[in-house]
Subunit: 191 residues, 2 copies
């Protein structure tokens, strides 16, 4: 009988509300996603930076280079992913520090969600920018006379495609990170 009485005991309620949040589990998942984001950002940068290709163009009779630096869109893509990579290192360390100091977790969740949204905007726009220009490179545009280049620079375009795929994955990881922070905050709100 003593056990069924417990919920009506004021001292018991005082202890039970708010419920202890599952901080370690949440932040362990958060750290894993941030490490994944770091890996994706570094991979995207490495793959696009190593895309340079030199090819002999028979029509012009000369050697020509395709470099990611030739397009401001790809330079923006690299800068955005360097920022995302750096951000993932800082927030992984911050997330690890929360595991040792769980009392700060609610504040960190708010800050993580705020910044993750901004980095998502940056990475998604960079993916779009590079993707838009890469598509012109792949298909060309007859209406304005932009020729396709992927028939000549196959390695260059393969690297671009790989890098864009990884960047899309990084955007997805950032969406998951925001969802995780929001869901964790929602779980702490008393019903």
């Amino acid at each position: 009988m003593a056990s069924t009485d417990k919920p009506t005991d004021p001292e018991y309620n005082k202890e039970a509300r708010p419920p202890p949040p599952a901080t370690v589990n949440y932040f362990a998942f958060d750290v894993s996603l941030r490490v994944l984001l770091f890996a994706a950002a570094v991979t995207a940068v490495v793959v696009i930076v190593t895309s340079d290709q030199t090819k002999f163009i028979p029509m012009l009779g000369i050697l020509r280079k395709a470099k990611f630096k030739h397009s401001p869109a790809f330079v923006y893509f690299v800068v955005a992913h360097c920022v995302a990579g750096l951000y993932s290192i800082i927030t992984t360390l911050a997330s690890l520090s929360v595991i040792s100091k769980p009392n700060l977790s609610t504040k960190f969740l708010l800050h993580f969600a705020f910044w993750d949204v901004l980095i998502l905007g940056l990475v998604a726009s960079a993916t779009g920018t590079a993707g838009g220009v890469a598509y012109v490179g792949l298909k060309g545009n007859n209406h304005v006379g932009w020729v396709k280049i992927c028939n000549n620079y196959d390695k260059f375009c393969q690297h671009l495609a790989g890098s864009l795929a990884v960047s899309l994955f990084a955007s997805f990881v950032l969406v998951l990170l925001v969802w995780l922070s929001v869901y964790s905050l929602h779980c702490r709100v008393p019903k």
Copy 2:
């Protein structure tokens, strides 16, 4: 003395925790932002759809049209902003319904934040895609022989620039919407 005793009174604490959320104020701001998002999405679509321009090209001796439909990047941009506009109508109605039923507000905040993040990713990537291709139109790319077109099609490019600026504003409104939901959830977590 009675007033200083109040905080130690268990009955007083029971009433004070959790504090009543300022649902109407929050959702009034939320509705305003969603109306702003709708206006931005519609403006971006209207401005880019009305950008078509016909010009006489002296070098070719013919009339040529510049149309947004000629580039898949701009078509993606229009589709993304139509989705964002439709989404803003649905969520404005949902947000208005919460003002009349405040007990559902926490659940709605979670759903809003989840979906707003996805729409932000869509709008940001569409802005990047169209921006990347518009930049090639503005500056050209000598390395791959893509000529600039904005020196001929001035009205077309002005419309593109205007539409991109409004789209950037829409992305910013979506970031604010996510921040607002996250902050409101954070305020409801007991300290």
